[in-house]
C-alpha cells in the first residue's frame, strides 16, 4: 500500500468512513498478528495484543501525527504490547495455548491442493514438515524477522523495522542472511536433496521436475 493511500484511509476512517477502516484492517491485520506471534505469544495472549492494537488505533485515528505511517504505528504498538504482556503475565501459558513453536504441519496436504494425486500430496506434506523443522532450527532473531516478513500481506521494510525496533537498512541484509540459513538447514534435514523447491512446477506437472 502506498503511503499516500494509507494516509487518506486513516483520514477517511477518522471522519467516520467505516469502509476505509475495513481496508486498513484487511491491509494490516496479518502484520499485527505476525508481530504478536513473533514474540512467541500463545494464541490467547497474541489475541489480546492484536485486539489492543486495533482498539487503540480506532481511538487514535484523528490524532496520528504521521497517518501515512499507520502500518509502522500498528507494528510499534503491537511490539510494545507484546513485550508488556510477556513481562506482566507471570502465569504459565496453558498447554492448549499454542505458540508458533508448537504448530505442526498437517500429515495431509490442505484441501486446495487436493488436485494433486495422493503420492504428490504426501511429498508436499513431507516437504512442508521439513521446511518447518528447518525454520525451527534458525536463531530466534531469524525466526522473529521471518515470521514478520511472512505476514500474508507482505509488510514494507519500514513496517518490519518498526515491529523489531531496528534500523530500516538492516532488514534487507538480515532477511537475506536468514533465508540463506534457512536453505542451509533445509538441505541438512533433507539430506542432499536437490529437488526443485517450487511446488508450482509440480502443480503444473512440469516434466523436467518429473524426470529429476
Amino acid at each position: 500500500m502506498e503511503q499516500g493511500e494509507a494516509a487518506s484511509l486513516v483520514r477517511a476512517a477518522a471522519q467516520g468512513d467505516e469502509a476505509a477502516w475495513r481496508v486498513l484492517v484487511e491491509q494490516f491485520s496479518s502484520l499485527v498478528w505476525a508481530v504478536a506471534r513473533s514474540f512467541r505469544l500463545g494464541t490467547a495472549d497474541a489475541s489480546d495484543v492484536y485486539q489492543t492494537a486495533w482498539l487503540r488505533l480506532a481511538e487514535h485515528l484523528g490524532r496520528l501525527q504521521n497517518p501515512e505511517q499507520v502500518g509502522a504505528w500498528l507494528a510499534t504498538t503491537a511490539r510494545r504490547e507484546s513485550i508488556s504482556v510477556v513481562r506482566s503475565r507471570s502465569r504459565s501459558t496453558p498447554m492448549e495455548d499454542a505458540t508458533l513453536a508448537d504448530l505442526v504441519p498437517a500429515d495431509e496436504i490442505s484441501p486446495e491442493l487436493a488436485v494433486l494425486d495422493a503420492e504428490q500430496a504426501t511429498v508436499e506434506a513431507d516437504r512442508a514438515k521439513q521446511m518447518w523443522r528447518a525454520f525451527r532450527q534458525l536463531p530466534a532473531r531469524c525466526q522473529q524477522l521471518l515470521r514478520i516478513l511472512m505476514a500474508s500481506r507482505r509488510p514494507s521494510y519500514v513496517d518490519a523495522a518498526a515491529a523489531l525496533d531496528v534500523p530500516v537498512g538492516s532488514i534487507g541484509p538480515t532477511r537475506a542472511r536468514c533465508l540463506k540459513q534457512l536453505r542451509r538447514e533445509m538441505s541438512k534435514v533433507s539430506g542432499t536433496e536437490s529437488r526443485p523447491l517450487n511446488k508450482k512446477r509440480h502443480l503444473l506437472g512440469d516434466e523436467r521436475a518429473g524426470r529429476a
Binding site: A13, E18, W21, R22, V25, S29, S30, V32, W33, R37, T43, A44, S47, D48, V49, Y50, Q51, T52, W54, L55, L57, A58, E59, H60, L61, R63, R80, E81, I83, S84, V85, R87, S88, R89, S90, L100, L103, P105, A106, S110, A128, M131, W132, F135, L146, L149, M150, S152, R154, G172, P173, A176, L179, K180, L182, R183, M186, L197, N198, K199
Partner: protein
C-alpha cells in the same frame, strides 16, 4: 542487495506454509473490524504516561510482580490505576486527580460497566484478562468526557 532466485523461491514457500499454519483467527478479524464502533468522537484521550511493567523491571525482583501501576494523563486530569491479580481475573483500584465525583465506565470485551468514583476520586472494579479502557465523565454535570488508551492487562 539483489535477491538470489533461491531466496525468492524459499520465501514464497515459507509464506504459504505460515499462512496455512498460523493464519489470523477469523473471530479476531471480525473483532478488529468491530473495534471501529468503540471509537469515541467527543471524548478527550488520556494517554498512557506510565506503566510499571515498562518503567520498573526491578519491581519484579522485589517480589511485587502482582501489582502493576498504570497512569493515564490528559490536560488537567490524571487517572492512576493499580492492577493486581484477584479472583478469576484482575482487580483494579483507581484514583482520579484532581479528586472528585465521577462516573467511570469500564469498557472490556463487548461489555461496559458503569461505576461511581467517590468524592475522593476513588473507584474499584473486577476485570478479566485482556484489553480494557476507561471512560470517565467528570466536571459539573459530568460534562467532561475522557477515555483512556486501550491496554492489555
Amino acid at each position: 542487495m539483489p535477491d538470489e532466485p533461491d531466496d525468492i523461491e524459499v520465501e514464497e514457500r515459507l509464506r504459504e506454509l505460515i499462512e496455512q499454519l498460523d493464519p489470523v483467527p477469523e473471530q479476531l478479524l471480525a473483532a478488529a473490524l468491530g473495534s471501529y464502533t468503540w471509537r469515541t468522537v467527543d471524548s478527550e484521550l488520556a494517554l498512557l504516561v506510565l506503566d510499571s511493567v515498562e518503567e520498573d523491571q526491578g519491581a519484579l525482583v522485589r517480589g511485587r510482580e502482582d501489582v502493576r501501576l498504570l497512569s493515564f494523563e490528559t490536560s488537567g486530569l490524571t487517572i492512576d490505576i493499580q492492577v493486581s491479580s484477584g479472583g478469576q481475573g484482575r482487580r483494579i483500584v483507581g484514583q482520579l486527580a484532581p479528586p472528585g465525583h465521577a462516573t467511570v465506565q469500564v469498557r472490556q470485551g463487548s461489555s461496559v460497566t458503569d461505576l461511581d468514583a467517590d468524592e475522593l476520586g476513588r473507584f474499584r472494579a473486577q476485570l478479566r484478562d485482556g484489553p480494557f479502557s476507561l471512560k470517565c465523565s467528570t466536571g459539573p454535570e459530568g460534562t467532561r468526557s475522557v477515555v483512556t488508551d486501550w491496554i492489555t492487562i
